[in-house]
């Protein structure tokens, strides 16, 4: 499914309405499109362009600036190993090399079965649990090579399905209140939270 489906479009329209200017919703909408497909399809970028009032090229041009937005397909689990200073001092490169061996891919590549994409991340702000890893933006740490093996096993078996949502899903909580921008027109009345 490449274009935004009805459910994603509903969420997208609600998001656009929150901002005083609709272009501000561009990045949040890219996250919503990724929640649907795991990556930003060209069709989704066309839809986003229309929703926020820019050209598809502007959506792509903006998206490619940001590490979290993928304009090519990624695996079901995006495994991002932080190798920045605090994690490096705690053995992150040993973990990363082990991940390359275990998964049989280099950094930036996806396994043939489409299960795992391996990334070499900049600091993820999990330095108290170094070396730390994010899988679909959920934290694990400290992760040494044996812990990485266990993590990969658990992901492959589905044991972590509750903890790690499908790739591209950033926020599982939906805003249910004040669903229009305050702007100059004033703040919307509170609505009942469910």
């Amino acid at each position: 499914m490449a274009h935004l489906d009805d459910e994603t479009r509903r969420k997208a329209l609600a998001t656009v309405a929150l901002y005083p200017e609709r272009r501000s919703a561009l990045i949040p909408l890219c996250h919503l499109a990724q929640a649907q497909d795991g990556w930003l399809t060209p069709e989704a970028m066309e839809d986003i362009a229309e929703l926020v009032g820019v050209t598809p090229a502007e959506v792509r041009g903006t998206a490619t600036f940001y590490d979290m937005l993928h304009t090519e397909p990624v695996g079901r689990y995006v495994v991002a190993v932080c190798t920045n200073i605090a994690c490096m001092l705690s053995g992150a490169y040993e973990t990363l090399e082990h991940a390359e061996e275990r998964l049989g891919v280099h950094v930036g590549q996806t396994t043939e079965d489409g299960m795992f994409t391996l990334e070499d991340a900049e600091c993820l702000a999990g330095c108290d649990k170094a070396p730390c890893i994010q899988v679909n933006h959920r934290f694990f740490g400290p992760v040494d090579p044996p812990a990485l093996d266990r993590l990969v096993d658990d992901l492959a078996s589905g044991a972590l399905d509750e903890v790690v949502p499908p790739h591209g899903v950033l926020c599982r909580v939906e805003r249910t209140v004040g669903l229009e921008a305050a702007g100059a027109a004033g703040v919307p009345a509170a609505e009942e939270a469910p």
């Binding site: 901002y19 990045i27 705690s90 950033l170 926020c171 921008a181 305050a182 703040v187």
Partner: protein
């Protein structure tokens, strides 16, 4: 006990339900906002001025002064900067995940003092749990009457949008953050104007405050600015959330009274960092994020004080301290930090975009054994082109401070460990390989 000051921003993070409205209300939540509405705008601003609250994002600019750059009638937007990406910094990560209501209450107090009706919390995209908890907290706050129209029955109304980032260090720079919030690439804006107070979001006057900065506001309003200013010394008032990482036994966050604790305490005290691993000794430490010049063991007795650290030639910056023991290859450390800046350069300015890449390549060549003695001078020469004079604070040839931050670690390694760097040339590789 190092200091007996009670924690301010981390007072409730130990509770399992600290992120819920119920847990928040049970521990004094939203009392600060109620008090602020009683006091009135001018008195809230007076308390924040009296507190001498310094911005906790990295630059350490007085929050009260940021607020008063323009008459409050002119300020249109408040943006809370939670795009925490400075390597080894993980305090805002803690605050958005463990105490999201405190962030919202702080933002609401700031918005009230500024007379703003629309606020945003720009939360780093990688903080997925933080985004979920902030969003849930906004839903709860609206239902509780702490956000939305006529907050707690007053004539003050505010909408607050939780905005997710998408992975770019540069968006922590406040003008890049505003560009990103406008749905664009995170390109820092050309200065002047130096502050978004003049031209901010959508060209309108905007105040940008850090997550930790606004998280202090509920306490300041409840207890008074004077009580806050009574903590710490000189211009460093209140407490500060320090992030300790690297080669220590107890890496983690520690909220400490400003100026009362030294780096030696933070790194070695059993109740704090707990010292280094058995048999290891301290080689160097970074006192305030990887943009800061390094310190050696001789600076251990400096206080965690913005002024003192500045005078000693570095900065307290984002409050993150990275410890490197004697097994560390300082060349590799400098290379990894340089690689980070190169990867995160937005690409607008040549000295940063190209210089960062050249420096990374030279450092890599040295580490891998292909280096030459002249490379040390070459490194410093390239640094000089990014930040003329390679002094502290750095001179700038670029739109923002990302570029001028690159020389910090390189110049530190060359100045403090010249012999070790030259040993890489002499031995055709890293003399410390296998040390750990």
């Amino acid at each position: 006990m190092i200091t007996d000051a009670a924690p301010i921003v981390t007072a409730r993070v130990g509770h399992d339900d600290s992120h819920t409205l119920e847990g928040y209300l049970a521990t004094g939540g939203y009392e600060g906002l109620r008090r602020a509405l009683e006091l009135g705008r001018d008195q809230v601003r007076a308390e924040v001025d009296a507190a001498s609250l310094l911005g906790r994002g990295g630059a350490g600019f007085p929050a009260g002064r940021k607020w008063s750059m323009l008459g409050r009638a002119d300020v249109t937007y408040l943006v809370v900067n939670g795009d925490e990406s400075e390597p080894a910094t993980f305090k805002d990560h803690l605050l958005v995940e463990r105490d999201p209501h405190q962030v919202i209450e702080g933002a609401t107090i700031a918005a009230y003092a500024l007379g703003v009706a629309q606020a945003f919390v720009f939360c780093r995209g990688e903080f997925a749990l933080g985004l979920e908890r902030l969003t849930a907290a906004v839903n709860e706050a609206y239902a509780h009457g702490a956000l939305g129209r006529s907050i707690f029955g007053s004539d003050f109304s505010l909408d607050l949008v939780i905005h997710p980032g998408a992975g770019a260090y540069i968006c922590g720079e406040e003008t890049a953050l505003l560009e990103s919030l406008e749905g664009k690439r995170g390109f820092p804006r050309i200065k002047p104007p130096y502050f978004p107070a003049a031209i901010g979001l959508y060209g309108a006057p905007t105040v940008v405050n850090n997550v930790e900065t606004v998280s202090n506001l509920p306490w300041i309003v409840r207890h008074g600015g004077a009580a806050f200013a009574a903590l710490g010394t000189g211009s460093s008032t209140g407490t500060r959330l320090f992030a300790l990482s690297g080669h220590v036994r107890r890496p983690g966050w520690y909220e400490l009274e400003m100026s009362k604790v030294t780096f030696r305490d933070l790194i070695f005290d059993p109740s704090l960092g707990g010292g280094l691993a058995e048999g290891r000794s301290l080689k160097a430490f970074i006192p305030g994020g990887v943009s800061a010049p390094w310190f050696g063991p001789e600076q251990l007795d400096l206080g965690l004080d913005q002024e003192a650290v500045g005078k000693a030639g570095s900065m307290l910056g984002s409050g993150s301290v990275v410890v490197m023991d004697d097994s560390t290859c300082v060349l590799r450390a400098a290379w990894r930090i340089t690689r980070f800046f190169h990867r995160e350069s937005c690409g607008q300015c040549t000295p940063c975009r190209e210089g960062g890449g050249w420096l990374e390549k030279i450092l890599r060549r040295l580490e891998e054994g292909g280096g030459r003695e002249e490379d040390l001078d070459l490194l410093m020469d390239a640094c000089d082109n990014i930040a003329p004079g390679v002094s502290w604070p750095p001179q700038q040839t670029t739109i923002c401070v990302l570029g001028p931050s690159i020389p910090s670690s390189i110049a530190s390694a060359v100045r403090m460990f010249r012999d070790e760097l030259l040993l890489h040339v002499k031995e055709g590789g890293c003399p410390l390989r296998g040390a750990r």
